[in-house]
């Protein structure tokens, strides 16, 4: 009679492979162009920065009487940003950590770190979505308002930022003698959802990152460029559901110039991992660990002229 595993099964039928599977992690793009500001401790929870407005030009010469001209008014705008506290944690029984083969607390720390960074990024995304001014894409042909993004829409938002004296984020990527490549102009940065990738790839004039003459000055989140805008994508890019004229989802594509918005961190409240062993938190029998994280953050637009929400459908 044949002996098979039906009659002689292995005593141990399962092996634990200690090499962990990857966890999906979102691209972090919304802080890329934010000006980082540190709020010192013991100085309140609102960070105020100020900007003095431009003065008029004075092209008319003084006449021969040489009288003093009327003075100009110096005006200042203050921009306030409130810092808030964010925290989360995991509770693990001691039984978990002493019976699992895997070092569960290590994974808890990794996941908390990911959650923290993605939260910081999402806060900035929500700030931009809430406060930035809007330009609808209108160059497309899908019959909706906004339409899908086209090169004319990219040029429109570029023109708005240029009219508003916005400074470029990146410098020109010069042409090189490489087949199939194209130079990239001085550029503003655009942060948008990965759902926009098909729209970008269909856009006339869009240059994929691998067609850049030189990719040494790029990030993994960058997907390409078009004229004077470079595009950075994230799975948690901003989408407003059902908000188009026809009720379709809208991608909020934030096009930023330099110093358009900022992120404020409290000096004593930067990202922190907190582990408490069993015995804390009303745990007299020492049954539970906790692993937590916290951070302090504020975010705001510092100059409304230099960030535009270019909205597109087609996603």
């Amino acid at each position: 009679m044949t002996v098979s595993i039906a009659s002689l099964p292995p005593q141990i039928q399962q092996r634990y492979n200690a090499k962990l599977l990857s966890t999906p992690e979102h691209n972090l793009i919304h802080q890329l162009f934010a000006t980082p500001v540190e709020l010192p401790d013991n100085q309140g929870f609102i960070d105020r920065q100020s900007r003095y407005d431009r003065l008029d030009l004075f092209e008319v010469p003084l006449d021969d009487a040489q009288n003093n001209p009327p003075p100009q008014q110096l005006n200042r705008v203050d921009v306030d940003c409130r810092v808030r506290v964010y925290a989360t944690y995991i509770v693990l029984t001691r039984q978990v950590t002493i019976t699992n083969e895997d070092p569960v607390l290590n994974s808890a720390a990794a996941r908390l770190g990911q959650s923290l960074r993605e939260t910081q990024d999402a806060l900035q995304r929500d700030n931009l979505e809430s406060s930035a001014s809007i330009i609808n894409c209108v160059g497309g042909t899908n019959g909706d308002i906004p339409t899908e993004m086209t090169i004319s829409d990219v040029d429109d938002v570029f023109t708005v930022l240029q009219n508003n004296s916005g400074e470029y984020i990146t410098n020109i990527v010069e042409a090189e003698l490489r087949f199939g490549t194209s130079p990239i102009g001085d550029a503003y940065g655009c942060m948008l959802t990965t759902r926009m990738i098909p729209v970008l790839y269909n856009m006339t004039g869009f240059i994929k990152k691998f067609q850049y003459p030189n990719i040494s000055q790029t990030l993994s989140t960058e997907i390409g460029g078009a004229n004077n805008v470079r595009f950075f994508v994230s799975e948690q890019g901003s989408v407003t559901p059902n908000a188009s004229l026809l009720g379709n989802d809208i991608a909020n594509c934030f096009v930023a110039a330099k110093e358009a918005y900022k992120v404020v961190w409290q000096a004593g409240g930067k990202a922190r991992f907190i582990y408490l062993p069993p015995g804390y938190n009303n745990d007299p029998c020492m049954l539970r660990h906790t692993a937590g994280c916290s951070f302090y953050q504020g975010q705001c637009i510092t100059n409304d002229l230099w960030i535009q929400n270019l909205r597109s459908t087609g996603i």
Partner: protein
């Protein structure tokens, strides 16, 4: 942790006026209970919402309830009940619930009355978007309008829009399309869609829902040329003087904020008398390609003095020495909210006590 099946989240009380109410919470609850402290055991008073319950996993708007009938009606004073609308809806403002679109049969471009066969789930104060409104496409799209009145199963009224319309910013009547209930964002201050700007030495700006601007705040605009008054766009870039109608340089300062039950507006320290008149684009013009008119925060300014909050300026922040506005700081105001519908909010003038609880080890998987 580990001591009780539920941890206490928060509690409080309010006096009911029978309208829907939002309760802000510091955490997500697993259980929410409401008690009528006034009418409990008052044998001559029949009250449906004597005690109402919500447990995690229940559908939005649903509820469990203990009601009380009057002593004269029967010998059983308390009874159990449940419902699927007008009850509890838990809202995480960072991830609000979504709603299906509902057909619209007409939109009045002057009165703001939206005719529809279904108003289920709507309450005064809710926000709706209008979608593909034939004949009035300028109303369609991203704008969140606030509801000010409801005729059940017949129509609802966009009173803030109607106030702007009566100030000269009406649009053509629309016919078919859809509405969809939405929740606006939670970051403060948020941009507002502009539905009217007066030509005045102190311009008034109308919005379709309550606004969160504050007196002394600086605001800027994006007014596409199809709306007329494009001189209001990108004020932050403006120099001072005659090149800008004699207005101060930079963005416009808010002198007054109005958030009544039917009007949402701000009055600006900005002269628009010489500007092109503001007018909503035609339906065809908007559908042909336009961006919405928006007003957005641009900074903080000196707070003007006023006699009360309902007249120009602020009664609480003095001008001398110059008052500074900290209320307009960019902020994250997201909350966990339990919305209490009209079926559970309580009888008129009843003092309602509420409790929120969170399960220490919530588990919706059975052991079977």
């Amino acid at each position: 942790m580990g001591q009780f099946p539920y941890g206490f989240v928060a509690s409080g009380y309010y006096t009911s006026d029978t309208t829907a109410k939002n309760i802000a919470l510091p955490d997500r609850p697993d259980k929410f209970v409401l008690y009528d402290r006034t009418n409990w055991g008052a044998a001559t008073t029949a009250v449906a919402a004597m005690q109402s319950f919500w447990f995690r996993g229940m559908a939005a708007g649903s509820y469990l309830q203990i009601g009380q009938i009057s002593a004269a009606a029967a010998s059983n004073y308390m009874y159990g009940a449940q419902g699927t609308s007008g009850g509890f809806t838990f809202i995480d403002q960072t991830n609000p619930p979504t709603f299906a679109k509902v057909a619209v049969t007409a939109v009045n471009g002057t009165t703001g009355v939206v005719s529809t066969g279904t108003t289920t789930g709507l309450a005064v104060g809710d926000w709706v978007r209008l979608i593909n409104i034939t004949g009035a496409q300028e109303l369609s799209g991203p704008i969140a309008y606030q509801i000010t009145a409801i005729s059940a199963g017949v129509s609802f009224t966009l009173g803030y829009f109607a106030t702007a319309a009566s100030a000269g910013f009406s649009v053509s009547n629309g016919t078919t399309g859809y509405y969809q209930k939405v929740y606006p964002g939670f970051m403060y201050p948020s941009k507002q869609y502009v539905i009217g700007i007066t030509q005045a030495t102190q311009a008034k700006v109308y919005f379709p829902r309550q606004n969160d601007f504050t007196v002394g705040e600086m605001v800027d605009f994006q007014i596409p040329s199809s709306y007329g008054m494009s001189q209001m766009s990108n004020l932050t870039a403006n120099p001072k003087g005659n090149s800008n109608n004699g207005n101060p340089p930079g963005p416009a300062r808010v002198l007054q904020v109005i958030n009544s039950s039917t009007e949402s507006s701000i009055v600006l320290d900005y002269d628009t008398t010489g500007f092109t008149a503001f007018a909503q684009p035609t339906s065809a013009s908007f559908a042909g390609g336009a961006s919405p008119a928006t007003c957005f925060p641009a900074g903080s300014g000196v707070v003007p003095y006023g006699a009360s909050s309902t007249v120009i300026g602020s009664a609480t922040i003095p001008q001398s020495p110059p008052g500074t506005n900290l209320l307009d700081a960019f902020d994250n105001r997201a909350q966990y909210v339990m919305n209490l519908g009209t079926s559970v909010v309580g009888a008129n003038n009843a003092v309602m006590y509420w409790e929120a609880w969170r399960g220490d080890n919530f588990n919706d998987v059975s052991n079977a």
